[in-house]
Every structure is written in structure tokens, then in C-alpha cells.
Symmetry: C2
Subunit: 247 residues, 2 copies
């Protein structure tokens, strides 16, 4: 379900933290949001050569379902236009050379920052996931295997861990599909619990882009699609990142 | 915003995982959900003597705002009916001696299980939080300080980390206020980003209980209430846990 007429962009401007005080949100050029720039966003996001560790690669903790589907989608990157997204330790690595809008001062990077969904470094204990993105169809798939540190009810993934995984998959998809940067809303309906250690497949689609907002949907289910774990709709705010000026 | 007429309870019964196949959900006695049994739930949940580590105690990473407000609410536990909830490593510790509904087999406890919101053991790096609960007013307050491992946009908490914190505060409140066990839905509107290392105060209320569901609301804001970080409504399904039979 997508809520129409959402007024958050206006209300955001009335608060002080997110955009540093009232201001007119920058207008995006639809061509730059959807067109050749998707390619440049993707090529920036997926550097061919980097020293950064990619956490979205198979390891010994992945269950057979996750490994098989990973291989299946890896094949599709060669023929069907899918792209495997790298996953670095921090979003700071993903947006290197770009700066956040004014008012969002970036704290010193002396701390050991980690993106939330890569907060647990031990293989298999926390988040195991990989996202594949399809630029022309504006959709993504996320293979997600929750570990025992993501527990809610005994033996099952915490609802909040799935909510965060959905938000993160939305986030990467929104950024690459249309420079969507900030979560405006999430609307999640939980249907079944995900057993720890098993695979959940998240299918994400960009439904529409309107008034600088991306409207997205997600369904999380078992590989055989017989069990729906949750459905979610999300709205993201578009905002262009600027090049950092040389120091 | 609370969505009325939500049909998840029925739909849950049509799926196989959460309740192990179609079945009639057990009817709760409203007196047992709200009456003397709240006391017994609380006393079970907050054991006076335990060897379990309570993670909801001040440590050197807590910012002054968090420490001050913690002390303030600790005083209110003596006079105003508030209860400080302990926070153990796993929900298995919180529901010791109780068993989940049939169909929800609990996996072996040989693994190192952790509740998601206590997944990062290093003080100050991940989730720092403490929940106070007010039984007669059916409300809670959660003091939440996100660390640098909970990052989304550089320097700010990931939206998913706040979603999980809201879900967890709902969850503990729902259980103690009316044996609410499972998240049916979360509807979150994000307003402003939370700077890493700062305090967010989550105010949770049980709005009503109807058809075995608890309808709850949450607002997350700065201590001075000048900045709203997010608003959320959540629905939880009531389900009584049974005593485990002696082995």
C-alpha cells in the first residue's frame, strides 16, 4: 500500500536537523535522475578496482539456498542486465568524493564507523546479505540470511532486523534508481517469522517517482515463495549529492 | 495513525510458519491481560535476584543527557510507579520457563544467541538503551543512544536501527501491558536524522486493545522535544505463553 499525498518533504523543511533549517528543496532534473546518470551512479557505486573489502561475497556461513541463488543471479549479471552491488563497511565508502547537503555535518571519521547492516563482523552471526540491482527495470533483489545475533523470538529473526534490511535494500535501490537518499516512511506488515540461519528473498520495486519522492515496494519471502515473511512500502526523498571541493 | 480493521490475525492463520498451520487463535481473558496478571508478568520479567547481566545500566559511553534522564526516571521508580526493565542478552532469558506456541520450534540453544538490539557487546559502539515501563498507564519510555556501528548516512543513525529500537520498545511494552508477542505491523514516518552518540527519547503508549491486538504509538524526539526524529504506530498480536512442563 502506498500512501499518496505525503507531505513530509514540506514538513522536513520546517525542522532544523535534517536540512539545517527551512529551505527550498533542490529540484531534480528528471533526466539526470533517470537516464544516462543511472549508469554514472552505478559506475561510481561499483568501482571496478578498489581496496575496500566487499562484504557481499559468499562465505562459509551461507546456507545452500543462499549460495545457489547467489550463483544464479551472478550468471544473470552476464546476460540479463543485473548488477551485483558491492557492500562496504560504511556508507562513507560508497559516497567517496561526494558531500551531504548543507546542515548535515559529517562527524569526524576517526571513529570506527560501520553501516548498521554490517555492524557484526563475525561471519554468519549477524547480517549476511547481497543485493543485486537491475537499472533498467528499477528493481532489486536482496538475499538475506539472519544470524543468531539478530534474534527476536527465540530461534527467529527480530522484526526490527528485517525492517532494517528492507530499509537498507530500499536505500541502495533508491539511490541508484533515482538519487533517493533519505527514508521518509516505512510501512511494514509482518506475516511470518524468519528462522535464524535460513534464507529470505527480498524483492524490491520502484513503483513511481513523483514530487522528488521514490515510492517503493518490497516483499520478503522464502525461496520457494510459499511463505511470505513481510510486505513493505517505503518512500524515499530524492536529493543530489554534490562533488566535494578539493582540499 | 492507527489502521483499523487490520486482518492480519486471520491471514496469519492461513500461513504455515508462524502458527504451524491454520488454527483458531486462543482467546485471551481481558482480566488476565490487564489486571493482576500485569503484576505477575512484570515480576517474572524483572527478577529481583538473577545472575544474568543487565545491559540496561549506565556505562562510560552514555552521554550526559542520557545519564541525567536515566537518573530522573530511576527516581520516578520510587515514587511514580515507573519500573526500570532489565535487558538480558537474549529473549530466551526473559521468557525462562515459558514456551512459544506450538509450531514455533525453538532451535537448539548451543549457539551464541543475542537479541538483535544487544548484538554489539562493545560499550557505546552499538545500541545503548534503557526502557522504563509504567504498568497502570500502559506506557513506556526508552532512552536510546546510537553508536557508530549503527550508522546510515555518515554521522547519523540508520533509519533501520531506529525502526528496530521502536519495534523492541513496542515489543517489551506490548508483552508486559497485555501479552503482546508478535509484531503485526509497523508504520514509521521519519522526520529528522539522529546524530550518532546523541540521545533520542522514545515515548510509547498503548492506545487500545481490540480483537487480540494491541495498538501502540511511538514518538522519538530529542530530550528538549524540539526535534522530532520519527513517529510510529505498531500493532502487536496477543498470545499467552504457557508454562514449560518439567523435563
Amino acid at each position: 500500500m502506498i500512501r499518496r499525498g505525503f507531505q513530509v518533504a514540506v514538513r522536513l523543511g520546517q525542522h532544523r536537523a535534517l536540512f539545517g533549517g527551512p529551505q527550498v528543496l533542490p529540484r531534480l532534473n528528471p533526466t539526470s535522475a533517470f537516464g544516462s546518470s543511472t549508469d554514472s551512479l552505478v559506475s561510481r557505486f561499483c568501482p571496478e578496482k578498489t581496496d575496500l573489502k566487499d562484504y557481499a561475497l559468499p562465505n562459509a556461513s551461507w546456507c545452500p539456498d543462499m549460495l545457489n541463488l547467489y550463483q544464479e543471479f551472478l550468471e544473470k549479471t552476464k546476460t540479463d542486465g543485473w548488477i551485483k552491488l558491492p557492500s562496504f563497511k560504511s556508507n562513507r565508502d560508497h559516497i567517496q568524493g561526494l558531500k551531504l547537503p548543507s546542515g548535515l555535518a559529517v562527524a569526524s571519521d576517526k571513529s570506527d564507523w560501520r553501516i548498521f547492516t554490517r555492524c557484526i563482523p563475525v561471519e554468519g552471526q549477524g547480517y549476511e546479505y547481497v543485493i543485486f540491482f537491475h537499472p533498467s527495470e528499477k528493481k532489486s533483489i536482496c538475499l538475506f540470511q539472519p544470524g543468531p545475533y539478530l534474534e527476536g523470538a527465540p530461534g527467529f529473526a527480530h522484526g526490527g532486523s528485517l525492517a532494517a534490511m528492507m530499509d537498507e535494500t530500499f536505500s541502495k535501490t533508491a539511490y541508484l534508481a533515482g538519487e533517493g537518499l533519505f527514508t521518509v516512511s516505512l510501512n511494514i506488515r509482518f506475516k511470518n517469522l524468519i528462522p535464524v540461519g535460513s534464507l529470505a528473498v527480498l524483492n524490491v520495486h520502484v513503483e513511481k517517482i513523483e514530487d522528488q519522492k521514490l515510492y517503493m515496494s518490497c516483499i520478503a519471502q522464502s525461496r520457494d515463495q510459499q511463505t511470505v515473511y513481510a510486505k513493505c512500502s517505503g518512500i524515499f526523498l530524492q536529493l543530489q549529492l554534490e562533488e566535494e571541493s578539493p582540499q
